[in-house]
Subunit: 362 residues, 2 copies
């Protein structure tokens, strides 16, 4: 709760000495910011949350604080949002922290790490557990203020041209999968590939790519992968929930009044809730359509899941030895995970399991 | 999105004709409202969310919009919040819609109904599905504007003095359970009891009460039930997730500027996310403490769960025949539930199940 009471005090002094008109300037100054998103406009789930955010900020300030939203590539390449915010090219951006894991692997914990938290627990760890403060320290080192904004829920494991049943089937598999998870799955013999979204479909079609992961039914359906790779695997154990972040240039954030900071924070929370709700609303019917179009659902086998789990732990250990902050954040998240799932297995998940059991019976 | 552009237009005209000072009054008028909560202060989860909300509204408006929060009973009895807001005794209140199911059983859907939705799906149905608009119609009939604010997650089935294994064990059981769920469980032979929170513990201790449900580990622990009823059953199938609502007197809501309406809406979303995160943060360690203090966890048997499910369906059918709105909202929620769980059983729940399977292995 970085309060900046000195700003308010200074502002109040100014208002007292210069009467009514400057008081308007103090409470509702005209601010025009640019928000650059990682997402293309076609990703209406995530890009839409940025528009929701901007709309709420404008409404809350009688249009005095305006945020103009740009899609990835319009003014900044999609994967350079953090850099653009850090160096002040734009005031704010919306992206996923884990895209910047090359700068510091600790960024992974902002979004999702293999066998980490589900959406509600990621929220809880960020908002009420230790996660928020731990990541604040990381973000400060990169000159940004970060606010969680939107979670996709558990993501799918992706589209595979052939069935994979054993770890042996994974060896040599050319799988389009990003960053940290690519590093983990490489330990199973997979050859991670980095392709821009537009290049994935043709590569899968030609067979120069064996598999790709993306997000979930609604977003994946638009890219048409089901037409060229019919096996749709689950769960995406590297993204049990992926959280987006609103990053704000630290100096720009500090220049805002306390009321504008509060408005931005609340508008982000509102957009965050809307984003997850949208995913939960649009994914289920999209899955039905995909199945109607011939998609074959497949679970990763226990062998593959357990080998992946071991590979993840080995990766965490390796990095943790070299990076104390990574180890500290990792240990916090995993302790939170284990405590929470001990409770969830009792109540949340038995409720859910019963609801699944009764599907079709009423 | 009930826009009230005429208000803004009127305000702008006023500002233009009278220059600077009234423009302040238009954008940031002094507003002082009272919020009466159902909850005692000791229920720091739910009562705390009201304080979070009030704080965010004040911060967002440079303290011009102040909401004073009152605990249940301070100015209005805890279960008369809706009435007090409707008749304008207070401007706003925080409560659970289902307490008012006697006015119209459709109020149950605002909070939780037996075998309804889990927390994320309840949010999705309210924010992006049909639930929001359907309930808006109900709330309008009672002169209030409603905004979802906070969800407890799945609740426990409660504290029982003796083990219950079969439906026969339920017969004649004096169980403190409220409203709609009491009506359902009565079909299994349970005799629902209504007791004020302070009366539950002594009744359990004396044995004039056989069992009580409340919320979950953190809130339940404070009332000490584990000392007099050691079997703690799960899941609370009548509350797979319970959503609180901020109710605002309709005329008072309409009197707010569009910017104040936006600030209230976003502050409620922010407080809502914080409330669920708090539950997810504090319940797991509370459960550990309860177990360390001798609490015995027990799952409701499949026989009891399935009999309860049938009793719930029979209750829905009965009410639906007499109440078209109830039937319409019920059908919407249950269709949403079935579509969503068809997707959740694929991805969300297999991720969660694997995490539970690996507990203790890293």
């Amino acid at each position: 709760m970085k309060r900046r009471d000195f700003l308010r005090t200074a502002g109040a002094g100014l208002a007292a000495s210069t009467l009514a008109a400057p008081a308007i300037a103090q409470t509702m100054p005209k601010v025009k910011w640019r928000l650059t998103a990682t997402w293309p406009k076609s990703l209406d789930t995530l890009y839409g949350s940025c528009e929701d955010f901007a709309k709420r900020v404008a409404e809350s300030t009688d249009n005095n604080f305006q945020v103009q939203v740009f899609a990835g590539g319009e003014i900044v390449p999609g994967l350079q949002v953090l850099d653009a915010v850090q160096n002040g090219t734009v005031e704010m951006g919306h992206t996923a922290g884990y895209y910047y894991w090359g700068k510091d692997p600790s960024f992974g914990f902002a979004t999702a790490v293999p066998f980490g938290l589900n959406a509600r627990l990621q929220n809880a760890w960020l908002l009420r557990g230790e996660g928020g403060a731990l990541l604040d320290g990381l973000f400060a080192d990169f000159g940004v203020h970060g606010i969680p904004m939107g979670n996709t829920g558990a993501q799918m494991g992706g589209w595979f041209r052939k069935e994979i049943k054993t770890v042996d089937d994974m060896k040599g598999l050319k799988f389009r999968i990003g960053g940290f998870a690519g590093n983990v799955i490489n330990k199973l013999g997979v050859v991670p590939q980095q392709l821009a979204p537009g290049d994935i479909y043709p590569a899968l079609e030609k067979g120069t790519l064996d598999a790709t992961e993306w997000i979930g039914p609604y977003d994946d359906e638009k890219l048409g992968f089901y037409k060229v790779a019919k096996y749709y695997y689950y769960p995406g154990w590297w993204e049990g929930a992926a959280t987006g972040h609103l990053f704000i240039n630290r100096n720009k954030w500090d220049s805002l009044s306390k009321s504008y900071q509060a408005i931005v924070t609340a508008a982000a929370a509102d957009a965050a809730a809307g984003a997850t709700a949208k995913y939960d609303d649009v994914n289920p019917p999209a899955l039905k359509r995909l199945i109607a179009n011939g998609t074959q659902l497949r679970a990763f086998s226990p062998e593959i899941m357990e080998a992946s789990y071991k590979a993840a732990i080995a990766t965490y250990d390796d990095i943790g030895k070299k990076n104390a902050r990574f180890k500290k954040i990792h240990d916090s998240m995993m302790a939170f995970r284990d405590t929470c799932y001990s409770w969830w297995q009792v109540c949340e998940l038995t409720f859910d399991a019963f609801q699944v059991k009764m599907l079709g019976r009423s």
